[in-house]
Amino acid sequence: MKLCVNRICSILLATFYAIWFAPIAQAYSFDMIVPDVRQPAALSGGSACPVRAHQLSSTGSIAVRWSTALNSNPVTILTQNQTASGRLTEIEQGIAQSLAVWSGVSGTTLVPATFAPLSRTATQTACGPDGVNSICFDQADMAFTPGVLAFTRVITTDRLGVQVGSSAVSTQLGQILDADIYFNPSDSNTAYATPLALAANPKAYDLESLLTHELGHFLGFSHSAVWSAIMFPFAPTPGTFSGMRPTAQQPDAPLGDDDRTGLRVLYPDPVDAVHQGSIRGRIFPANPIALPASPPGVTGVFGAQVVAVDAATGAVAGATFGGWSCVSPGPAQFDGTYEIDALAVGHSYTVYAETLNGVVDPSQITNAINSLCRNVMTDPGWPPLQGCVVPAANISFTARTRPGP
């Protein structure tokens, strides 16, 4: 009887968790690239399995410069120090600190030495596909419209031997060749404040929070649906900042565990003995008829966010956008598979799946979804056997779990 009550309570709690978790606990995702298998295997790897967009992470491999051209009418970047040189120093400190947030995560190959020293340029139009990663605060761009604060444009390649401008020639599939961060320079209603200036400018956005988020895109992240993650698609309200400010003891303090796990997946350190845990499984609908008839071959739920919660702390340790797998030579199979990697060993995790119909919906991770497949319609001459079509994300299932063994 006690067992039965416990089971009923468990089911009720699981349902309650599902309802309550839905808006707060989903997952990081990555910008994916399907290698161009029309190229010789020596250039494409011969596999149509999606690969993650990423920067090279060897010492000094990531160079970033920022444009010191700042809008003066209106002033969009607010600093505490009002002298010309003091303003630039304060902004540069903010950029350096945002970079250090990401390189401060343990268990990755992205370390402080990965970044070349931050450099400046006086060129107002420094951002562009020139192979130089740039941050621009006063460069007008045809992409801006009212309502757009900032964005990161990332150029990746799907084959080896490609370069953009003066970028390095690609030696890895999915290598990011150029990434530029644009802040809207011309919205008179919007300003961004450095950490030192934020308290005095409560209507301004926290420059460091936005920069750290944009640098996540710069490194290959798409959005996360974990609300405490820096890659959550919403920044803090003006006058406030994400998470905690970085400190010397914890330079990655603004990040959530989901960001850290994502970074460890994206830039794994082979000698990291702590974050070697993986959880893998598949998600099926209770009724197979619920699977979409088109495109053919869908055998599991696609589009679920599968979340691993640390059973001891309740923190979202990591998560993934589940529902597909791929074995060389590809293409991706939509079989309901998920895999959450880079979890700390020696912990217990509660795993559950949920639909993308809460705070984040499929349209917000379009890149992560649409970039899983290529086919003869999207790419003329694509080998049919390595082509696929991404099914619509399933946003209507209800998660129930079977009891463990």
């Binding site: 900032a150 444009r153 990332v154 944009e214 698609p233 919403f234 803090p236």
Partner: protein
């Protein structure tokens, strides 16, 4: 996890949920545009059907030009075929990506809030905020409208409050009424 631990965990989640509602948020790359602001600021509003997508290098960047057949014009003057240019796309072996830029597939229909200066190609106003996709239920034929950014809690800088707004699964007829009302009330 014991029952007591689960219950405690649930309460923590409950409180966290309340805290989340209290924490104001805004899209990292986007600032809030209310529906009425979208209507006001749009150069044109129309129901469009995507008929072609092409990416190419232009002005030093990869841009994607999406051509639409005009189905219905709700605001502004539009020709029978409208071109919208958005940053990003794929050319050759290079892929330019920007989170939040709406992408369309041929055959897809949407109400799109267009924005642009004279002599320039149209852009989608507020990116995901100005994109209202139309889904047709294959069984009933009922069309529903969902805004790309419908799930975003958005911050209104004037009231300094957040709201969970957006349009999600709204029948087309209801959406049209809402649009018509906003057009009639729009600021001159």
């Amino acid at each position: 996890m014991s029952f007591v631990q689960r219950r405690r965990f649930l309460w923590i989640l409950f409180l966290a949920g309340l805290a989340l509602l209290a924490v104001a948020a805004n899209a990292t790359t986007l600032s809030s545009l209310r529906f009425e602001e979208l209507v006001n600021q749009a150069t044109a509003v129309a129901r469009l059907r995507c008929i072609g997508v092409e990416s190419r290098w232009q002005d030093g960047e990869i841009w994607t030009e999406t051509r639409f057949e005009t189905v219905e014009v709700n605001k502004g003057l539009l020709p029978g075929v409208v071109s919208v240019r958005m940053l990003g796309g794929s050319v050759g072996n290079l892929h330019s990506r920007i989170e939040g830029v709406p992408a369309f597939r041929p055959g897809e229909e949407a109400y799109i809030f267009l924005w642009g200066h004279e002599g320039e190609p149209f852009r989608v106003l507020g990116w995901s905020q100005g994109t209202f996709r139309i889904d047709r239920d294959p069984r009933t034929g009922v069309e529903r409208v969902t805004q790309d950014s419908a799930a975003d809690p958005v911050f209104d800088p004037r009231t300094r409050q957040f709201r969970h707004g957006g349009i999600r699964n709204l029948p087309v007829a209801v959406f049209q009424l809402k649009l018509q009302k906003a057009l009639e009330e729009k600021t001159p």
